[in-house]
Symmetry: C2
Subunit: 264 residues, 2 copies
């Protein structure tokens, strides 16, 4: 199955997910196609969250937003259905994880607004293509994530710190890594910091706030990129009555090529 | 006065405008600082207009959006006041120009949401710096604008055609003009079309839908960029009860440098 699943197009993969036959992470699947973070909120919170995302484009790059009650994104994937096309959903109530689901049709509301935000799978693919090591993939781990002392711009009721991912990069590839990721502003873009973790309030690289620690080898510099967990923390802080998101790593797979979102 | 006014900083210019001593166009003033189109709508229309702008970033590049009732943009210009800091406002009611004002404090509502969108003054400055001719400036005219057969992506109640500006560029400077403007995605960015006007539904270059016709000389190619009149037309089509905008050419002058919005 694993060999076959990697050959599926984005649309075929979504069909499989919709029919309940794939409820696992989407990393490495439908390669070349942009995957998205998904946040679904009642419309009374939608303008504020739109503000938060627009004001913090590095951690929250907006790929699409849907009208209240709409569950199909014509832009990212015609004929998709956001109520069923994510392999696993987290349902948060008042800022707490209330349940995990593989389909949200039974709790869908006519006032739900769906936000699709860019996901760093896109730029990791580009780094690997350029033979820049991505340590957590090499080590088979989740990317290390850290809460920084950089505050996001507030948006209505939503606020919180910038959360970053870290990838150790050999000295002679730092500039190239910055250049490559800068081409993808819709998936976090250029690094937010290069070098000393202390400068951005990180005390101990070996103790990430989320994900797993990875080895930083001699001659490597820690490079920090804005992280898609930032909006999730901002949402949980605001304790909305309900918010539905993708489960970590279980993304929405779009029909847009990563390259369609690249600049220059 | 004209000589002095050009030396004012963005903040000094805004003070002058606020005190009612400058109600003329802002082109050529506070050079180097980003100027913005302004659209103010009651909050019941704000989410839809946010959608329209986010979905059409070339004609509607979002520089900032304010919470309902807020009149200061901390991001673009701390201590500014959008109720008084634009030299001239147009007030539209149900899609028709109802009045022109130099201050809107008396009609301000607590549910007004302000949108700041990028303005092409920024990239014209960059073109001129690179010795690329900007014909309408040479001829002392308004830029020619055309309604195309390209439809914007709808956003809630807002919809309409893409409107473009045209600048004739000598053959050997076309690529450079495209490259330079691509650096400024927050002010319409790269051209939307190079060459035949008919391809995008423009029948006669000498009869623009807005602005003035300019000479296209032998050896020059018409280059088309997305135009900030696009959102105005979309708003007027939707006939909101009230919408306040800057009067054409009478922009909001921010404290942000154009270069702060440049990519790469």
């Amino acid at each position: 199955m694993d060999g076959d699943i990697k050959k599926l197009s984005s649309g075929e993969l979504r069909s499989l997910i919709r029919s309940g036959k794939w409820n696992s992470p989407t990393a490495g699947l439908a390669l070349g196609y942009a995957q998205a973070n998904v946040y679904i909120l009642p419309s009374r919170y939608a303008f504020d969250f739109f503000l938060f995302a627009q004001r913090n484009p590095k951690p929250c790059p907006i790929l699409d937003v849907l009208e209240p009650g709409t569950y199909e994104t014509n832009f990212l994937a015609p004929n998709s259905d956001i109520r069923s096309d994510v392999p696993q959903y987290n349902v948060f109530r008042k800022g707490k994880l209330a349940e995990k689901k593989e389909d949200i049709k039974d709790i869908w509301q006519d006032d739900f607004v769906t936000f699709f935000l860019g996901c760093s799978f896109t730029f990791e693919e580009a780094l690997i293509r350029s033979q820049i090591p991505v340590r957590h993939i090499e080590e088979g781990k989740n990317v290390p994530m850290y809460i920084t002392n950089i505050r996001c711009r507030d948006g209505g009721i939503f606020n919180g710190p910038l959360i970053v991912t870290m990838r150790p990069i050999p000295a002679d590839k730092i500039v190239m890594a910055a250049q490559i990721t800068a081409r993808y502003p819709f998936v976090h873009g250029a690094p937010v910091h290069i070098g000393s973790p202390k400068e951005i309030g990180i005390k101990d690289l070996s103790r990430p706030d989320f994900g797993d620690a990875v080895e930083v080898r001699s001659g490597e510099t820690p490079i920090f990129w804005a992280c898609g967990v930032t909006p999730q923390e901002a949402i949980l802080n605001a304790r909305p009555d309900i918010c539905i998101s993708h489960a970590p790593g279980h993304m929405f797979v779009s029909d847009k090529l990563n390259e369609e979102f690249a600049t220059s």
